[in-house]
């Protein structure tokens, strides 16, 4: 068994992971810094890209296979076209830390006022619904959740203010994204009403400015929107596309989609607080790999060696990206576990655990006419089909009950036939009718 040939230096780099990797433009250096020559444990190669009965698996050790992979072939993949994207990636990695929320929320609150992961997730999904409602691009959602998470990690918020915080993050995000031309100017005047956040527009505006202040949004925004899993996924996506394997990449991704595409799935991932501790680049790459894996499985028959070889290329490219992004094997696998959990719940199409408490406001007219049967006066006693009806259980001979006392609620108003004969004239006949007889 070939041991992974990773230098001690490389290992230290992986653990520390925050330095900018000096990536030289030349292909060869790139390959070296990717460390394709040696593959460390727990990284992408461990994922079951390759079916057991396919050729590479026959070698029994996939790592060995990758080891023997032709570096030259790899270099060819790193074309000139990818360079600007690569540069962007590196810059993004460098800046990533300031946008990591590192939010650790308790699962259940000891006191009613603390924010649990369930509450945060519920709010995230509300924002997702608002994004659909206003037909806004995904950037808005990711930016909003980023603001929300970072704000929560910096300030101790009471649970009752969560709605305000989340919706204000949303409107702030819309502003910022519109500033960078990512979405059209949207009229959010009814946001307070629609989101049922129990805040006024004024409250939202104030909270917006607090969040902007706390997160130093205006200073940062001068350079761009926060780094979110979406921005990284876009970078990875374009890098794959501009490589030689672009077509295969798209094909594999499409095969593995099974309904919602990768962008929608990323939204779901970011709405789950399990993933709020990871760096956005890790989340993006992990999801991309899971989708590629699903695609590979869907593409089925891997007896074709040419296809196999290409798939292996895909894999190694992903490994490459992992190295550039300075994602350690450990963080990759932990994130992988979390993302798989989220995705399996999503694919199971089950009811969401965090449901918004919705307010149901009805107009006065409809509220009055809700249930037709409720309006019925006290019903006549049942007559059994094959038995005679006996009167004893029928009328409650409760003595003289005046009409004022007998009607407990407006809709009840039983048939006020008086038992005592001499009070016969007092019978208020109009009360026994359904209300239609005397509309206001």
């Amino acid at each position: 068994m070939v041991k992974p040939r990773v230098s001690r230096q490389a290992r230290r780099r992986h653990r520390g992971g925050k330095k900018v990797v000096e990536v030289e433009v030349k292909g060869l250096n790139m390959a070296h810094s990717c460390g394709v020559t040696g593959v460390s444990e727990g990284d992408i190669s461990r994922m079951d890209f390759v079916q057991p009965n396919s050729i590479p698996a026959q070698t029994q050790d996939f790592t060995q296979f990758v080891d023997t992979f032709d570096i030259a072939t790899m270099e060819q993949n790193l074309s000139e076209a990818m360079l600007p994207a690569l540069k962007q990636l590196e810059e993004a990695i460098a800046m990533e830390d300031q946008f990591v929320a590192n939010l650790q929320l308790p699962s259940s609150g000891n006191d009613k006022n603390c924010i649990t992961d369930g509450i945060r997730d519920g709010s995230a999904h509300v924002l997702r619904c608002l994004k659909v409602w206003y037909d806004l691009p995904s950037d808005v959602l990711f930016t909003a959740i980023n603001y929300m998470d970072r704000f929560l990690s910096k300030m101790k918020i009471q649970a009752k203010h969560m709605a305000c915080v989340s919706v204000s993050s949303f409107s702030l995000a819309v502003q910022q994204v519109a500033l960078h031309g990512g979405c059209p100017e949207t009229d959010l005047r009814d946001l307070a009403l629609i989101s049922q956040s129990k805040c006024t527009s004024g409250d939202l505006q104030r909270m917006e400015s607090i969040i902007a202040l706390k997160l130093d949004v205006n200073r940062v925004s001068a350079s761009g929107l926060p780094a979110t899993p979406l921005s990284f996924l876009r970078l990875y996506h374009s890098l794959f596309l501009s490589s030689d394997m672009g077509v295969l990449f798209q094909k594999t991704l499409a095969a593995g989609a099974q309904g919602p595409d990768i962008w929608q799935r990323l939204e779901i991932v970011v709405c789950d607080s399990k993933c709020s501790v990871f760096r956005p680049s890790v989340i993006a790459l992990v999801l991309l790999c899971t989708q590629l894996q699903a695609g590979v499985e869907a593409l089925g028959d891997q007896a074709d060696p040419a296809l196999c070889a290409q798939l292996v290329q895909l894999v190694s490219f992903a490994v490459c990206l992992q190295k550039v992004s300075q994602i350690s094997a450990a963080s990759f696998s932990i994130c992988l576990e979390a993302v798989n959990e989220v995705m399996s719940k999503y694919n199971a199409q089950a009811q969401m655990p965090h449901r918004q408490r919705l307010v149901w406001k009805l107009s006065h007219r409809t509220r009055r006419l809700l249930r037709p049967i409720d309006r019925l006066a006290a019903q006549l006693p049942t007559i059994e089909e094959h038995k005679q009806f006996t009167v004893s259980e029928s009328r409650p001979r409760s003595g003289s009950v005046s009409s004022e006392e007998s009607s407990e609620s407006e809709k009840e108003e039983p048939c006020n036939r008086k038992v005592s004969g001499d009070k016969a004239e007092q019978m208020h006949w109009y009360k026994i009718q359904p209300p239609m007889y005397h509309e206001e």
């Binding site: 999904h125 997702r128 619904c129 409602w133 037909d135 009814d190 009403l193 629609i194 049922q196 309904g259 919602p260 929608q264 779901i268 999503y346 199409q349 009811q351 969401m352 449901r355 918004q356 919705l358 307010v359 149901w360 406001k361 009805l362 107009s363 007219r365 409809t366 006419l369 809700l370 249930r371 037709p372 049967i373 309006r375 019925l376 019903q379 006549l380 006693p381 049942t382 007559i383 059994e384 089909e385 005679q388 009806f389 009167v391 029928s394 009328r395 048939c415 036939r417 004969g421 001499d422 016969a424 019978m427 006949w429 109009y430 026994i432 009718q433 359904p434 239609m436 007889y437 509309e439």
Partner: protein, 471 residues
């Protein structure tokens, strides 16, 4: 008998409704008019003052005395006589309530004679042919001061512990019941209420009359639905039927199922459904609680008669659907979910805000939501497009909020399906926009073609030499 059709004996048959309504005082009607001469009613001794051996005879004499009719349209005539009769009736009511052994055999036919004499009359034609029960006061029976005692008496008679159906059935026969049923068309709600209870007791006590009564009620309803669309007592009859349906033995007889499909469902199509909808809905729901397999024909029937132009009726139908869904069994639900939710989807997209509101309020019903959730793969694709489209289009703020609630509920129910539907909807919209653009371009090209061909023709004409010049 019931009044029908239009008035002909007014001076101005084309008078507007406003002019007809000039008189504001409470209207009273009666078809009883004064007798030939003033009737002197001999004052008889009180029953309680007479020894028990003579009570039966006195009772009968008083009953016969009460057979005399008085004219209530004229408020001043026969005041003394009316008072005597009223007191006698009141006394009779007390007598029959408290006394024991007062219902002897000979008394039965006398009682029925008295009741028939007072109650059975031709109902006067309706004073207001455009009577709107929600706006107008009903025309009351003028002779009510006497009639109410007669009804009260009748009821105590039927409910008395001494009452023997075996003797009673000799005098309360089919002819009697038929005349009683005709009275249900009275405009006076008090009278109808009494009739309701009376008929209920008769149905309850006389098993031999039950089939006949059911048949006659069927006839009344069918005539109402398919011929006249006018009968004041539909609600009361339905209330009685409600208590009958409640007592049906299982398994249900074919006759009863037939009644549901052929009579109760068509009752939904009448214009004045609002007068009796509550009672009708109650009957329908009772049927479904007795036999859930009837769900499919009921829902299909309602969908067939779904109102297309009357929004008030549509709101009523939606209310009834909710009541039905409240008691529906999941296996039955699956059978009717597709056509039903297609209709609900249309209601949600209605521009009448009350219809949309009522339909959207279904999303607040926990049981309905649980049924939708179990079958969300089928239902969500049907309703989603309307919800999404209306969220962008609707004018009413309350509806917008309810649409949000409905969409959010769907999103929570099945995020994956929701995302797929959103994408599909947007893709479809884009295709539509593209198709529209292509269509417009085609028309544009066609019109250009025409212009070109015209200008070509003109050119051709100009190029030709003038062949003929007429001078």
């Amino acid at each position: 008998m019931s009044a029908s059709g239009a008035f002909v004996d007014r001076i101005d048959p084309w008078g507007s409704k406003a002019s007809l309504k000039k008189k504001k005082k409470k209207s009273q009607g009666s078809s009883r008019y004064r007798n030939a001469g003033e009737m002197e009613l001999q004052a008889l001794p009180y029953l309680k003052d007479v020894p028990s051996t003579e009570q039966e005879e006195l009772f009968i004499r008083k009953l016969r005395q009460c057979c005399v009719a008085f004219d209530f349209m004229d408020p001043v005539t026969d005041l003394k006589g009316k008072e005597v009769k009223r007191n006698t009736l009141s006394e009779l009511v007390d007598y029959i309530t408290s006394g024991r052994g007062v219902l002897t055999d000979p008394v039965y036919p006398e009682i029925i004679k008295m009741i028939s004499a007072n109650l059975f009359r031709t109902l006067p034609p309706s004073e207001n042919p455009d009577f709107d029960p929600e706006e107008d006061d009903p025309t009351l029976e003028a002779s009510w001061p006497h009639l109410q005692f007669v009804y009260e008496f009748f009821l105590r008679f039927l409910e008395s512990t001494d009452f023997q159906p075996a003797i009673g059935k000799k005098v309360i026969d089919q002819k009697f019941v038929l005349q009683l049923l005709d009275l249900f068309d009275s405009e006076d709600p008090r009278e109808r209420d009494f009739l309701k209870t009376v008929l209920h007791r008769i149905y309850g006590k006389f098993l031999g009359l039950r089939a006949f009564i059911r048949k006659q009620i069927n006839n009344i309803f069918l005539r109402f639905v398919y011929e006249t669309e006018h009968f004041n007592g539909v609600g009361e009859l339905l209330e009685i039927l409600g208590s009958i349906i409640n007592g049906f033995a299982l398994p249900l007889k074919a006759e009863h199922k037939q009644f549901l499909v052929k009579v109760l469902i068509p009752l939904h199509k009448v214009k004045c459904l609002g007068l009796y909808h509550a009672q009708l809905a109650y009957c329908v729901v009772q049927f479904l609680e007795k036999d859930p397999t009837l769900t499919e024909p009921v829902i299909q029937g309602l969908l067939k008669y779904w109102p297309k132009t009357c929004s008030q009726k549509e709101v009523m139908f939606l209310g009834e659907i909710e009541e039905i869904l409240d008691v529906i069994e999941p296996t039955q639900f699956v059978k009717i979910q597709e056509p039903l939710f297609r209709q609900i989807s249309r209601c949600v997209a209605s521009h009448h805000f009350q219809v949309a509101e009522r339909a959207l309020y279904f999303w607040n019903n926990e049981y309905i939501m649980s049924l939708i959730e179990e079958n969300n793969q089928v239902i969500m694709p049907i309703v989603f497009p309307s919800l999404y489209r209306m969220s962008k289009e609707h004018w009413n703020q309350t509806i917008i909020a309810l649409l949000y609630n409905a969409l959010k509920s769907f999103m929570e129910m099945n995020s994956k399906l929701f995302d797929e539907l959103t994408t599909a909807y947007k893709a479809e919209r884009q295709r539509e926009v593209k198709r529209k653009k292509e269509r417009e371009e085609l028309w544009q090209r066609l019109s250009e073609l025409e212009v070109n061909s015209q200008s070509n023709k003109e050119q051709q004409l100009n190029n030709k030499e003038p062949q003929l010049i007429f001078k």
